[in-house]
């Protein structure tokens, strides 16, 4: 592979990997607290992208109930992304209320909670399809609206070309990562989250309101999921209501690779899988979508607790 192409692919991989990382963090946060994988996370990711589209004041297509509708106002892209994330966070909290809390209060089998989150995912994806149709949407071009060049050249004679969008995506995901790490490690709520993840009953005895913290967890998880959705939509386009499902399944591979419940593991796993996909040789590009799942198999075989995961202690 040509050196220039290699560098470009590495940059692409980092941008995609950064998004995988923040998306997978949403799974990880919920998993570390509840020990359950929230299958609705992929649907929240999709919702985030659609919300951002709506907040931009853009018009919806020709199919579905909301055909040709648009919000009476539009906000600039950075603000729309933020609003989209917040709206996705609110939906995520609602999902917790409807599909998680009733089962948790009854002390139900975690398997049932998993199934009910799958049900929520199916319902949300199809509500989206019902409302705005199955067609692809793309955001108005950022580079034109912000007046920046579509790509950056590095080097002189044979420059390395990098899409500006990739740089934006990578920087935004890094900022989100830093904020999230700060939130988890240095704020009171974050420390309470870690305590609840360690031992829910003891932390409740010590005066931590676990139910409220679970709501916070779902909100943060939905927020970062929604922002990840917008970033992916920015990079390619919103390819339809199902685009979060495929992404959500890859996110599972990311968290298993990093180690279930490990925050730095999710980041590392995201970057590794992003880079792995970007470095697939051109003639095998059709198999790119299988990379994450092949990695998942290998991890299960070789090191089931993931790169940075802790060994699970079997409790009776």
């Amino acid at each position: 592979m040509d050196f220039n192409v290699l560098i470009q692919n590495v940059f692409n991989g980092l941008a995609v990997g950064g998004v995988y990382a923040i998306f997978a963090l949403g799974y990880t946060l919920v998993f570390s607290i509840l020990g359950i994988i929230n299958f609705a996370h992929g649907a929240v990711f999709t919702l985030g992208a659609y919300f951002t589209y709506a907040f931009l004041g853009a018009r919806f297509g020709f199919n579905g109930l909301l055909a040709n509708q648009q919000l009476p106002f539009g906000v600039p892209f950075p603000l729309a992304t933020l609003f989209g994330g917040l709206a996705a966070g609110v939906i995520s909290v609602l999902i917790e209320r409807v599909a998680f809390r009733p089962l948790r209060n009854r002390g139900a089998d975690p398997l049932l909670t998993l199934v009910s989150s799958l049900g929520v995912a199916v319902a949300i994806v199809n509500v989206i399809q019902y409302l705005v149709g199955a067609e692809a949407y793309s955001y108005p071009s950022l580079t034109i609206s912000l007046g920046i060049p579509p790509s950056v050249m590095l080097g002189g004679e044979r420059p390395i070309v990098i899409r500006t969008v990739q740089i934006i995506i990578f920087s935004v995901s890094m900022v989100v990562l830093v904020l999230l790490t700060y939130f988890i490690n240095y704020t009171k709520v974050g420390k309470a989250l870690q305590a609840v993840a360690e031992d829910q009953i003891t932390s409740r005895l010590l005066g931590i309101n676990t139910d409220r913290l679970i709501v916070v967890t779902f909100f943060v998880s939905g927020f970062v999921g929604g922002i990840a959705g917008t970033l992916v939509g920015l990079s390619v386009s919103i390819t339809g209501p199902y685009f979060g499902i495929a992404f959500g399944l890859k996110g599972l591979a990311v968290i298993v690779l990093g180690g279930l419940g490990s925050v730095p593991g999710a980041v590392l796993g995201g970057l590794v899988i992003g880079l792995g996909e970007a470095l697939v040789p051109a003639q095998y590009v059709g198999y790119k979508d299988a990379i994450a799942f092949a990695v998942l198999f290998i991890v299960l075989l070789v090191r089931p607790r993931g790169i940075l995961g802790r060994t699970l202690v079997q409790k009776v």
Binding site: A99, V115, S116, V120, N126, L249, F293, F297, L300, L312
Partner: protein
């Protein structure tokens, strides 16, 4: 009657397949293992039948396809599914927790991506013109109905055998089962393989039935749908997934019929019933898990206590002898 079969014969066969696919999800669940692989094995079985019947067993166009060749394909599909299930099951089932669910999702996705790219599976277009052993679709009942009966009988006997009880003991408490001498990994893999074989064989018949096979058969969505059969039908007895498969496959047709009945519903409701049936499925799964965690059909339904059901009978005096 003839008109009814003409209109609904296709649907009835589909319902039979769905019941068996529900059963194939139920088998691993008996041992407490969530597998989402049935769709993957269904796709693999279908590809095996499609490739074999258009190459090795190819018949001239329009000629009937010999049934013994179809049975042979089902056998191959079952064996391949079993081998693959062992390969996937052993690494993920020696662990406790949700690893099987993750590994099976990976399997389904890998099958989809690989079949999209391989030449032998016809790429994105798939395989067309799979030869037909029967003249009409309803005749597939000669294969599908006995298959359903045999697999239902198998599940019925399984539930009352040593192996079935070992499955249930792992579902209830894996550590306790291990302490009692049940080898959890062995029985978990066994339950997973049983489900895989059934799904693979159904796929083989289904490929002939549908006449064409491509990578849209057996996706993650399909897995979730089969899971809904079990969760809504009931996951505590084999009757649950069978009923779930039959009813939920008929549901869209019923909804469509309701939607098409003039003056029964206002236009928006009718439109929702026909376009929004997947929303209904999703909501049903959530409601089912929260309010009917055992599904609609529970083992207690089969205990014949007509008086007690109406609050007239008395509870069995089970402790009488001990207190005396």
């Amino acid at each position: 009657m003839e008109d009814f079969i003409k209109q609904y014969g296709f649907l009835i066969i589909q319902m039979t397949f769905a019941a068996m696919l529900g059963l194939s999800m139920y088998l691993p669940l008996m041992a407490g293992q969530l597998s989402l692989a049935s769709a993957g094995f269904y796709a693999i079985g279908g590809y095996i039948a499609a490739v074999m019947s258009t190459t090795v067993f190819a018949v001239p166009r329009g000629a009937p396809f010999p049934i013994e060749h179809l049975l042979m394909e089902m056998l191959v599909a079952g064996v391949v599914s079993a081998i693959l299930a062992v390969i996937v099951g052993v690494p993920s089932l020696r662990l406790r927790g949700i690893y099987l669910a993750l590994a099976t999702i990976a399997l389904v996705e890998i099958v989809r991506v690989v079949s999209l790219n391989l030449e032998i599976t016809g790429g994105a277009i798939g395989i067309f013109g799979i030869p037909q052993p029967f003249n009409d679709k309803f005749s597939y009942g000669y294969i599908a109905f006995p298959m359903l009966l045999i697999s239902a009988f198998f599940a019925y006997r399984l539930e009352r055998s040593r192996i079935g009880r070992a499955f249930v003991s792992i579902r209830e408490d894996e550590l306790a089962a291990a302490a009692m001498g049940v080898n959890p990994t062995y029985y978990k893999v066994l339950s997973f393989v049983m489900g895989a074989v059934l799904a693979g064989m159904v796929g083989a018949v289904s490929a002939h039935f549908l006449n064409t096979w491509n990578s849209r058969q057996g996706t993650f969505d399909a897995s979730v749908l089969y899971l809904a059969f079990v969760i809504i039908g009931g996951s505590r007895t084999f009757v649950g997934p069978i009923m779930g498969g039959l009813l939920l496959t008929a549901l869209p047709e019923v909804l469509r019929a309701l939607a098409n009945t003039p003056d029964l519903f206002a236009a928006p409701v009718a439109k929702f019933l026909s376009d929004g049936r997947w929303i209904v499925y999703g909501v049903l799964i959530v409601i089912g898990t929260i309010f009917f965690p055992q599904g609609l059909i529970t083992p207690s339904l089969f205990k014949w206590r007509p008086l007690k059901r109406w609050g007239l009978g008395r509870a069995k005096p089970a402790l009488k002898e001990e207190t005396a």
